[in-house]
């Protein structure tokens, strides 16, 4: 899923400026699953904004709704109709959702309430971790199902480096060495011989370096 977390309230307030009518829009997709932009988080942010304005002695009118997904235009139309009564849309979707809303919102300002942080998984209750950087050329068949681009702090395709010690990466915070994970996994699956294969320098044009990516499927058109 796409991981996100709420922006500091001070940032949200600063972006809102003196907007008096704000429509908060949550998303039932990934940001609900990672507890950042679901219905509960929308309700909580409504209360926080009302309290903040109360403390400042300024009025605020808040509307709220949560959409099936903000990354599909079909789900936006009803919300955009209602949004005409507001000064600004404050979206609790990931960066993709916020942008699609902004593309469709005409002259209405659209602001993000979240910081989108990663593509990742639930590691345990209350904890999520990054697993994919969407490089566009999946290396997982060669690396035991563990991504060197994401899990190695340097994105080395042939590792580990000298900063690996006792299974941990030199960056600290208990971050495992991605290449130690890969080697351990290759060993467990009886594929350690794959480690002998030197990976060629990657063609990063399929990743961000090639500019904004587009996915076109003629068979679905």
């Amino acid at each position: 899923m796409i991981l996100a977390e709420r922006k500091p309230i001070a940032d949200i307030l600063s972006h809102l400026g003196d907007a008096r009518r704000v429509l908060l829009v949550g998303c039932h997709g990934c940001v609900t699953v990672c507890s950042a932009g679901g219905q509960k988080e929308v309700d909580l942010l409504v209360d926080v904004l009302q309290l903040a304005r109360k403390a400042q002695g300024q009025a605020i009118e808040i509307g709220k709704m949560t959409l099936e997904r903000q990354c599909d235009v079909e789900f936006l139309s009803e919300m955009l109709e209602q949004a005409k009564q507001f000064d600004v849309i404050l979206s609790l979707a990931c960066g993709a959702g916020v942008q699609l809303v902004a593309e469709r919102a005409g002259s209405l300002r659209v602001l993000p309430a979240l910081n989108t942080t990663a593509i990742g998984v639930s590691e345990q209750k209350g904890q999520w971790g990054e697993r994919c950087q969407a490089c566009g050329d999946c290396k997982l068949p060669l690396t035991g199902g563990i991504c060197p681009v994401t899990r190695c702090s340097k994105s080395l395709l042939n590792g580990p480096c000298g900063g690996s010690s006792k299974g941990l990466c030199e960056i600290g915070n208990g971050t495992p060495c991605g290449w130690q994970l890969i080697i351990d996994r290759l060993e467990v699956t009886g594929c350690l011989d794959q480690y002998e294969t030197i990976l060629e320098p990657a063609d990063w044009s399929s990743a961000r370096d090639g500019g904004p990516r587009k996915l076109v499927r003629e068979d679905l058109k």
């Binding site: 309230i9 609900t32 209360d47 926080v48 309290l51």
Partner: protein, 316 residues
């Protein structure tokens, strides 16, 4: 009815109940409804009737047995030493095995709303929730109605049908009424029914002597109190909110730690928006420590009285 055999062993034990009613004042279910049948004594009499043949098993009776917050206060207060929770446990098993599909106060998931994030499954301290055939299901014998799963749900898909005064909407109604009817109202104290509940009963003798400045509301476990309820209390006009919970080591549901973590996050948010974070406080009060409960409340009231009202116009 052969399935009743499970309960037959308790016949002698049920005879031990001398109907003294000491269990009454310890039961949030009874204190909320004020109906005899909702009290532990009433439920034991129902079971007695079931065994004697005077009461027929029904959804109504089954539901009564599943309406319980598992605090065990009744059993501790019982003058005859009836192991009430053990009797209930067998009765619940009997009803489920007999095909009575009731939920009582167990937490249930609205499958249409549920996003299958599984956060409630991971959160449940009693391993009562699981993902089966595409749905979150609650094991009604394991669920202790602590409500740990309620605030974790981003879709608000988890609910306890009858909260007996402890559900978020019921709490908000009580809070609104208190601030509407009392011009001197200043604060809400949310109290855990495991630790603080018996304490404050003896701290306040009757409603006539109730403090016009503070209202104490029982939340079952403090871990069940959702952040939104706390913020809405401030929006209703409260000068502050105090949450009294068990010492962390005493809480069977991990609720005290969670309440502290959630309120810590809210305090940081308050600070960010220029409101003094001391307006939300969490204090541990061990079970039955009436003196500490009174002192904690008084200290909190002194502090927020110094801070003054959370008024419009920039003053904190």
């Amino acid at each position: 009815m052969t399935q009743l055999a499970k309960l037959e062993k308790w016949k002698g034990t049920l005879n031990k109940c001398i109907r003294c009613g000491y269990c009454y004042e310890h039961c949030q279910i009874y204190k909320s409804s004020r109906w005899e049948i909702d009290s532990p004594r009433g439920k034991l009499i129902l079971l007695y009737g079931l065994l004697s043949g005077e009461v027929e098993p029904s959804d109504y009776v089954a539901n009564k047995l599943f309406e319980c917050f598992h605090c065990n206060r009744c059993q501790k207060a019982c003058s005859s030493g009836v192991p009430i929770q053990d009797v209930y446990a067998d009765a619940r098993e009997f009803f489920l095995e007999s095909g009575f599909d009731v939920v009582g106060t167990t937490s249930q998931t609205d499958h249409d709303l549920c996003a299958r994030c599984l956060n409630c499954v991971r959160m449940c301290p009693h391993e009562a929730r699981s993902f089966v055939d595409g749905k979150i299901v609650t094991d009604r014998l394991k669920c202790q109605s602590c409500g740990s799963c309620l605030d974790i749900c981003s879709e608000k898909a988890v609910a306890i049908g009858r909260g007996f005064g402890t559900n978020p909407d019921e709490l908000q109604r009580s809070i609104k009424l208190f601030f509407t009817q009392n011009s001197n109202a200043k604060a809400i104290v949310f109290s855990c029914s495991w630790s603080t509940f018996p304490g404050f009963q003896t701290a306040n003798f009757d409603e006539q002597e109730a403090d016009p400045e503070t209202l104490t509301l029982v939340t079952v476990c403090s871990g069940r109190l959702n952040s939104q309820t706390v913020l809405e209390t401030l929006l209703q006009g409260a000068w502050g909110v105090l949450i009294c919970c068990c010492p962390e080591s005493d809480c069977a549901h991990g609720g005290s730690g969670r309440a502290k973590a959630r309120m810590n996050a809210l305090q940081k948010t308050l600070e960010e928006i220029g409101i003094d974070p001391r307006r939300i406080q969490v204090s541990e009060v061990a079970q039955g420590n009436t003196k500490l409960f009174s002192e904690t409340t008084k200290k909190f009231m002194d502090e927020i009285s110094d801070l003054g009202a959370l008024s419009i116009g920039g003053k904190q």
